[in-house]
Amino acid sequence: MMSYQYLLLLLLSLGVSAVEVQRPRGVPLSKRQFYEEGKPFTCLDGSRTIPFDRVNDDYCDCEDGSDEPGTAACPNGSFHCTNAGFRPAFIPSSRINDGICDCCDTTDEYNSGAACQNTCRELGSKEREIMKEMAEIAKEGFLLKQQLIQEAKSGLEEKKAKLAEVQVSKKDLEDKLEALRTVKETAEQPEKEAKERHLKAWEDEKAAIRLEKDKAKMAEVFLELDDDADGFVSVADLLTHSELDPDSDGSFTEAEAQGLLGGVDKVDTAAFESVWNNIKEKYVSESNADIPAPVETPQEETREPVPENDSEQYPEEDIPEEEEDDDEEDEDEDPDDGDYKSPPTTQTQEQKDDDDEGTMPPYDDQTQNLIDAAQKARNEFDEAEKALREVDDQIRNLEKEISFDFGPGAEFAYLYGQCYELSTSEYIYRLCPFNRVSQKPKYGGSETNLGSWGKWTGPEDNVYSLMKYEHGTGCWQGPNRSTTVKLTCGKETVVLSTSEPSRCEYLMEFTTPAVCQEPQSLYPDAHDHTEL
């Protein structure tokens, strides 16, 4: 069998060389008729006619290079190698006799001294082998692809059915949600009113308590001031409390004291009520006054016990000399003003003041019942809302998947939601088709996004041969990372290789049966020629 084939090839190649002597060097069979021995030759572009002895005479006469098919004389000529046993080829004329073997049948190097070997037979058998292999892969792959198309079809049907189903349930959910909204709103109105009532009652109570306290304090102060216990507070009594000096100028005069008393020299307990309102802010109890509180001490200092804290927190030029208290307090009310946070001490003091007034008493049973009922309605509403959101998501996802361009037969649909990995010496590359590509260092380090699904970018006649993933993590002084995925036919679905041909532009080779073509459409010409 082998020897028979060999013999046949030998005969064939002999036959070919027999044909070749009948046409000028470098002319393909298909153009033989234009080169007729002994007759004037017309350049193939028709530009001029020359004697036949100027064909292949190593001087370029035709603009189109057609007079020198077998020499390097024309810059734009081409040379045909028959390459018996392999594929015939055209090479640029400039490769004739340049010392480099381009044609496997060695015919391009007829005068250069290059020692070329005829490798056509090896190349041919190798190519046939590869083609056979590829044809087998393509055949199997194509079968798989048909299967994928079927699966995708039924998958799509399923998804469409599911979508319809979900859309119905969505309508139900929407109705339910509306009903629950009404229930909730109905329950919330009485709840709100009951809460407000409760709050109002508590506030009234607080005001009453405060009034009581104030009265008690006033009585106490009256007794304290009324040094001579005559039932009156007099100018003299007031003068012992220098802190009451209205203009705080250091001298508390009788006139000023009289002014505080409403223009009279003394007041009784009933009249003291109005005096009290004037002095209670400043008044210092005598029991406290035993502790020496130097009069000269500026008020601010006593009120701000930790000024050092301030100086740390305020930029120096902003340290307040005076009258900054109001501003500070304004700023304290704005917690978002990050750089100017109030000292924590102030806040705790304020909270303490509030605490003095006690906490709100628990709701009464009736109110509590209303609250509980409203809360229940709210929970139910929230749950229904959440369920609706989930259904929306589901619909969106289904719609997205249904509308996705998974190829003419949706043969790429099976890749959706899958991920494929390739491990190299340094990284693990991960391709999640129609989603994203990423790269993770093998030995620690965070993942880098090499691009999110962009679009199909194959050439017009083969759009589904390339995928583009874009807008990955940015590169320093460079573009955002992106990845092109080149799809080739294979029985398996695997990432074959990755590379970075240009900085931050990755290339991934990926095999899948989904791109396998119908086998007979492969290499339509190859067989004819190899059998030449």
């Binding site: 005479d57 810059p75 400039s94 480099i100 590379s499 900085r503």
Partner: protein
């Protein structure tokens, strides 16, 4: 506040792509420059002590004294062969020797006799041999005037700026009153820049001298600067600085120092060209001022009409940080005399292998062997020729030079063999910083031999560069260089083969964490400080590498080494490129004056990264850059790591075709380029040359730097404007004719010609009167074209004559030195074109023949006869295009190496 913010933003944004000027010193920040520049013109404190004068046949010596401090200097004056005067000034008795630059001069320059013409108490007059040239040495104050006839050609110290900071002991005693009181200024004994301290163990040691050039308004040279061809005056800014630096994203049109330094300046006017070669390798600043600068053309005319004007004059002042004053005054008188005078001192352009003149494809980085193979295949697929593919630093095993990345370049010989089979070659980078790594052979050997540069404390100097911590071999040592050269032997440099050549980058040297991104000046090279030798480092690196490539072939093959840093004399070792430029139109434009300036000072083999290194070029810019680069001596595309790929076929078929055409034009002209390099190697003349070099009496040419000549005969005005629809080229020479090389259209000289352009246009003109050989069969590499036939382009001048040469050798060995070459003189006169042997003692044979002769500006003959050596005659067929007067002789067919003549009747 908002404006402050905007300003800050602007600084940040502009900082993204511009040089960070703050990383580099201004004159004010360089203590010696500041000190010296503070001295203003005035009466010099130096006096010549005529009684100390000694005159031998070839040398005059004379002591100078500084009347302020009584320190004495020794002046030496030599008359050198070829119309050069050498002036050397050193301390009479320096505390310790001062550095004198070795290895840059190719030999001790031969002298010529000096004779005393007259002498009195005011000075002496010496004869400089022929041409009635004299030197007048004036005693008080000291100055030198070089005269020819009644004209002063050049004066030294005429502005009193001679300064010589004598070496001294550091005095720590404050202000002792003594006779020679010297003010101790900041920066004399130590200075710092940013976070770097310079310990300055020798203290102040600067030297300075002024030169006046009467009648001169145009000065050129002192590369490397990203500036116009014609140097500007520096009165209102910093002087031009010469200090080899790795400048990240350099800025254009300013006097900042760049990667290389050649301290040579040319001065030119319509009558004469002169040159100053300031042989000093320390940091140097050059001030230029002119009494006509700033005057309008009208102002100058008014002066002329009124006759009231002083003669135009340019004043130049050189300041160097250390060493001595050793200056060569080249007296021309023609530009070509200057080139040969300078070549007689520092040598000529090395003669590269022919393939190095072809196209080079480079990128930081071709990722792996597969990438190399694919790019190589891409050129064949798109039928674009190339000769060299380059590998940048990523090809190494962790930036250890002389090694290969074990994964990406696992089998370099296989890769190189693949290129051999296509007759192509590779360049791999070898930088001079050596990774400090005890598992790295190169490092261990350098350390154990003590070859590293030392820091000021005596340990091995270490700095940061690509590999991280790195040592820097002391290339100033001859034994170190010999060892380095031996590392290129095939059995030392693993994976190397005969088609692997070398690229020396980062050899300023670049030290990422050093002052101004370079080495500390107080690092030690044996007894000398780095300060003394800085500008020589890159020169020595390339010298040692080129020597290595020569030695590995047993002295047979010519080396090819590209360097970024250079000094005077670097032309002897290979090619230079203009460093890390950017993909911007202005960078394309500046490539012309930058390479022209280098050519003027001997370095002809110059190119810029085609496409621009940083950033990504627009397609239009890339195409225009290929078209420009195709006509510059070193033609290499290169790109930064972070830029998108830009192999020529990635921009659509139309642009691929435009780039292919540009590269093919280069390949057709390779015979002419090769011949130009042969000439440059013989004469030192620039290959890419300014117009004024060929038309020295035409002031219209003096400032032109958007067009240039290749040799004498090709004029190129590349399109360097975005969206250009036309260019205006100046065609020089009122008796010249210029032929458009593409259309053969004839134009008269001495005119500004508007040339409409399209994207495919590269305006190039051949001078009438010239003959240019081309090889029109462009193949995939230059080596593939070796035996191809020639087409001769004969462009006739108004006298209907033309001449040219044809040089042929094996293209890659030193055998041409053994007279193995062909050199033909081609001349057309009286309707006879003939080829005559110009080198009868040379022997070489070629398979190449003459396939076509195209005569431009011809008239139609009735008969064309070819006569060859044996006296045989034959008719040659021809075609005549009457509309363009182009006569094409079809296939005369004679061998390119023999005598022949063609007669038109």
């Amino acid at each position: 506040m908002a404006s402050v913010l905007l300003l800050w933003l602007a600084v940040c944004l502009s900082g993204t792509w511009a040089v960070d000027k703050g990383n580099f010193k201004t004159c004010d920040q360089s203590a010696f420059c500041k000190r010296q520049r503070a001295l203003k013109p005035g009466e010099s404190p130096y006096r010549a002590l005529l009684e100390t004068m000694e005159l031998t046949n070839t040398r005059l010596t004379l002591q100078l004294i500084n009347d302020n401090n009584k320190v004495r200097l020794l002046l030496e004056l030599y008359r050198l062969q070829g119309n050069i005067t050498r002036v050397k000034i050193n301390e009479l008795k320096p505390l310790k020797p001062r550095y004198e630059v070795p290895d840059v001069l190719i030999r001790e320059p031969p002298t010529e006799p000096l004779s005393l013409l007259s002498q009195d108490e005011n000075g002496v007059v010496l004869s400089l041999g022929a041409e009635s040239q004299r030197v007048i040495v004036s005693a008080r104050p000291f100055r030198l005037d070089i005269m020819e006839g009644r004209d002063v050609l050049m004066s030294l110290n005429s502005r009193g700026l001679l300064a010589f900071e004598h070496l001294r002991m550091r005095s720590f005693e404050p202000l002792r009153s003594k006779e020679e009181e010297e003010k101790v200024e900041d920066g004399m004994w130590e200075e710092s820049f940013k976070s770097h301290a310079d310990s300055k163990p020798s203290g102040p040691s600067a030297v300075s001298l002024d030169f006046s050039l009467p009648g001169v308004e145009h000065v050129y040279g002192i590369p490397e600067h990203a500036d116009t061809l014609r140097l500007k005056t520096t009165d209102n800014g910093d002087p031009y600085r010469l200090y080899n630096l790795d400048v990240f994203q350099y800025e254009l049109y300013n006097p900042m120092a760049l990667y290389g330094a050649v301290p040579v300046m040319l001065a030119h006017n319509a009558q004469r060209t002169t040159g100053i070669f300031w042989l000093n390798a320390a940091e140097t600043w050059v001030d230029i001022s002119s009494n006509t600068a700033g005057k309008t053309v009208f102002g100058k005319m008014l002066d002329y009409v009124q006759g009231s004007s002083e003669t135009p004059q340019t004043d130049v002042r050189w300041i160097s940080e250390s060493g001595i004053i050793d200056v060569f005054i080249m007296l021309g008188p023609t530009p070509k005399d200057i080139f040969s005078q300078y070549a007689s001192l520092t040598g000529t352009q090395s003669f590269p292998p022919l393939s190095a003149l072809a196209y080079h494809q480079c990128r930081w980085n071709y990722n792996d062997q597969k990438d190399v193979q694919e790019v190589d295949a891409g050129f064949d697929e798109h039928d674009i020729p190339y000769d060299f593919i380059w590998l940048d630093i990523e090809h190494t095993d962790g930036k250890r030079y002389f090694t290969w990345d074990p994964h990406k370049f696992a089998s370099p010989k296989e890769m190189l063999q693949g290129l051999v089979e296509k007759k192509r070659k590779m360049v791999a980078i070898v930088d001079p910083h050596i990774k400090v790594d005890s598992n790295y052979k190169i490092h261990n050997e350098i350390r154990s031999k003590g070859f590293y540069i030392k820091n000021k404390d005596g340990g091995d100097y270490e700095g940061w560069c690509w590999p991280g911590s790195a040592g820097y071999p002391d290339f100033t040592r001859a034994d170190m260089r010999a060892w380095w050269a031996s590392m290129f032997a095939y059995d030392q440099y693993e994976g190397s083969m005969e088609n692997l050549y070398t690229w020396n980058d980062m050899n300023e040297p670049s030290v990422f964490n050093g002052p101004e991104v370079t080495m500390h000046k107080d690092a030690m090279h044996g007894a000398w400080e780095h300060r003394d030798v800085h500008n020589l480092y890159g020169f020595y690196v390339q010298m040692a590498t080129a020597e290595g490539l020569i030695q590995r072939s047993g002295g047979v093959e010519r080396p090819f080494v590209l360097t970024r840093a250079f000094f005077a004399g670097s032309q002897r070792y290979g090619a230079v490129w203009t460093g890390d430029n950017a993909a911007e139109w202005d960078h394309l434009k500046i490539s012309i004056p930058m390479c022209l300036s280098l050519g003027l000072v001997g370095i002809s083999f110059c190119g810029a990264d085609v496409g621009g290194f940083f950033k990504s070029p627009s397609t239009e810019l890339l195409v225009r850059w290929y078209q420009t680069g195709a006509y510059q001596p070193f033609f290499r595309a290169h790109a930064h790591l972070d830029t998108p790929r830009r192999e020529p076929w990635l921009f659509g078929p139309e642009n691929t075709a435009l780039i292919r055409e540009a590269v093919r034009q280069r390949y057709t002209l390779l015979p002419y380029w090769y011949q130009q390099f042969y000439q440059a190697h013989q004469t030192g003349e620039p290959i890419m040359r300014p117009l004024w070099v060929e038309y020295p009496q035409d002031p219209a040419t003096f400032a032109i730097d958007d067009e240039f000549l290749i040799g004498r005969d090709l004029l190129v005005h590349p399109v360097t404007e975005e969206g250009a629809r036309g260019v205006t080229a100046y065609l020089p020479g009122k008796d010249e004719l210029w032929f458009d090389v593409h259309t053969f259209q004839k134009h008269n000289g001495a005119q500004n010609l508007y040339i409409p352009v399209t994207m495919s246009s590269i305006p190039v003109f051949q001078r009438g009167g010239s003959i240019i050989p081309r090889k029109l069969r462009v193949r995939r590499s230059s080596t593939c074209m070796e035996h191809d036939p020639y087409t001769l382009y004969v462009a006739l001048n108004p006298q209907r004559t033309a001449e040219g040469e044809l040089y042929i050798d094996d293209g890659h060995t030193f055998n041409y030195e053994k007279k193995e070459f062909i050199l033909r003189k081609l001349s057309f006169t009286k309707n006879i074109l003939s080829s005559v042997n110009m080198a009868p003692d040379a022997q070489f044979s070629t398979r190449s023949w003459i396939e076509r002769i195209i005569i431009l500006g011809a008239s139609k003959p009735s008969k064309v006869t070819l006569k060859t050596a044996g006296g045989q005659e034959s008719q040659v067929e021809f075609e005549f295009d009457a509309s363009m007067s182009v006569l094409t002789l079809r296939k005369p067919g004679m061998n390119a190496g023999v005598d022949w003549s063609v007669t038109l009747q």
